[in-house]
């Protein structure tokens, strides 16, 4: 499924001057970003750079100290219930209720997102089939392997067909085959018009699936630019410059990238 160009050119998400303190230190400082439908943004940074805090704020799990988040043209902080419909979030380590089965997790997440009855059943069947979770439906989340937990978290995030998919270190604990399947899934979602934010500290993940990369360091945005073919080396150089020496804001481009042709 592809979306009309007019819809794709609208900003789905806009962050303006987002700041947040955690544990007495600034975790995110004056962060501004925008994301269009069908775009895949890679959020790169070393541990503690502020990636998870940024994603938690975008997902609605954490309120910023200052700044605004616009989602689909509306103030997300004024209307946090928008998260229910528009956002699917896979937090780091995919937290789950260990006493519930895979099927019960999907039911609970579906109901929390407003799905019920036939719509919930159909959505559950489609996503369990897509992520190969059908045989695990009756298994308790507490006994799943880390890779299976990750897939369940992904299924919960995708169940309600969100417009914005927020993935925090989704490739953690996945084997190479599962990583390849995850990349395929991200491309498929982007082709269908879903905006994706992917947080990782692996450059290869970003160059493999993202249209754009944003590099965070000590809570500040140091680089925001589209990725072109064969950019891996220069991106690696920028990343290490920023990570080792603090970098500068010279690589921030205001012009967002056009989504890649993910359907290809």
């Amino acid at each position: 499924m592809t979306m009309p160009t007019a819809v794709l050119s609208q900003d789905l998400l806009k962050l303006n001057g987002l700041s947040r303190h955690r544990a007495g230190r600034p975790a995110v400082q004056d962060l501004s970003l925008s994301l269009k439908r069908g775009q895949v943004l890679g959020l790169l940074g070393v541990n503690g750079a502020g990636k998870s805090t940024t994603l938690s704020m975008i997902a609605g799990a954490l309120r910023p100290d200052s700044g605004t988040i616009e989602l689909n043209g509306a103030d997300f902080l004024e209307h946090p219930q928008q998260a229910r419909q528009f956002i699917g979030w896979l937090p780091e380590r995919a937290p789950q209720w260990p006493e519930l089965t895979v099927g019960e997790h999907l039911n609970a997440h579906g109901r929390l997102r407003g799905l019920n009855g036939t719509a919930l059943r159909q959505a559950r069947e489609a996503i369990t089939e897509r992520l190969e979770l059908s045989s695990l439906q009756r298994r308790l989340a507490g006994v799943l392997s880390q890779g299976q937990r990750q897939r369940l978290g992904l299924a919960c995030a995708l169940l309600h067909k969100p417009a914005l998919l927020v993935l925090d270190e989704p490739a953690n604990a996945l084997d190479p085959v599962q990583v390849a399947a995850l990349r395929g899934l991200i491309r498929e979602q982007a082709s269908a018009g879903t905006a994706v934010i992917l947080s990782t500290h692996l450059l290869v993940e970003v160059t493999a699936v993202c249209d754009r990369v944003a590099i965070l360091h000590e809570g500040r945005l140091h680089h925001d630019a589209p990725i072109a073919e064969g950019d891996h080396k220069s991106l690696e150089q920028s990343f290490f410059d920023i990570a080792m020496r603090g970098g500068s804001n010279s690589s921030i481009e205001n012009k967002p990238a056009h989504p890649r042709n993910h359907a290809a």
């Binding site: 955690r22 309120r63 946090p80 109901r111």
Partner: protein, 261 residues
């Protein structure tokens, strides 16, 4: 609708955990034993009691004492009210502290739920479990009601009192779970607060002080009139205040968690 989704999720979690079933089975067994002992005592003294004009009957000697030891004292096993002081903290300890430990509380925030929706949804789930437990206990004295003369008004007042007590302890437990970093801490805090509220006026009573602020604070001062069949608005307001205050504190704490992270 969101509150219902949280209630369903929490009920599911309660029903799939063995703890809730074990607690229900053990307490119902203990209360059945208490019921048989009370019934045995009543039957043994039936001829003497029949001779007393206006003397106590099945309601005063079996049905209501099933619910609490407040009126009976003695060496009988605990009544429902005393068991509730232990059962409710065990049921409520994980509702929010467990979510905090699992890292699942942010998932609820990210579903667009407010602090009040999360707290109320979880509170309703615990309350539904406790109502089911109370109904199973009430079924024991009611099972022989056809063969005897049950004072329905007094029994209803006592049942209402127990329901209010369970609702208050559940609210207190949810508040403790909202503040605690670990379920065990929540259970201990909830148990101590519940016990404290029940016996806070013990010293005053021993000193012969029948009224005053300390007696007004005590849970037992408000439960006892209801167990005796006396429904007063002061008692109902006290329970309503305790529930509202506990839930308000829990909501503030959960909402602050989204702010503070």
């Amino acid at each position: 609708m969101s509150v219902v989704a949280v209630t369903r999720l929490e009920l599911r979690r309660l029903f799939v955990r063995p703890l809730a079933w074990v607690l229900a089975a053990l307490t119902l067994g203990e209360l059945a034993w208490r019921f048989i002992l009370l019934l045995g005592q009543f039957l043994a003294n039936q001829i003497k009691l029949a001779a007393l004009p206006g003397g106590p009957g099945y309601t005063d000697l079996v049905a209501v004492p099933m619910l609490s030891s407040l009126l009976t004292g003695g060496f009988l096993p605990f009544g429902l009210a005393e068991l509730a002081l232990v059962i409710v903290p065990l049921l409520t300890m994980s509702v929010l502290a467990g979510d905090r430990g699992n890292g699942t509380l942010p998932l609820l925030f990210a579903s667009g739920l407010s602090g009040s929706q999360i707290v109320l949804g979880k509170y309703l789930a615990v309350l539904l479990w406790l109502i089911l437990w109370l109904l199973l206990v009430l079924a024991m004295p009611l099972s022989v009601a056809q063969g005897t003369h049950l004072d329905w008004g007094k029994f209803a007042a006592a049942s209402w009192g127990l329901l209010l007590m369970l609702a208050s302890l559940a609210a207190l437990g949810v508040a403790c779970s909202a503040f605690a970093s670990h379920p065990a801490i929540a259970a201990a805090a909830s148990l101590m607060l519940g016990l404290g509220l029940t016996i806070i006026n013990l010293g005053a009573q021993m000193a012969g002080v029948g009224n005053g602020a300390i007696n007004w604070l005590a849970l037992s001062s408000h439960l006892e009139p209801l167990l005796r069949g006396l429904v007063s608005s002061v008692d109902l307001i006290w329970f309503a205040l305790l529930i509202a205050l506990s839930l308000m504190l829990a909501i503030r704490r959960v909402s602050a968690e989204r702010e503070r992270g």
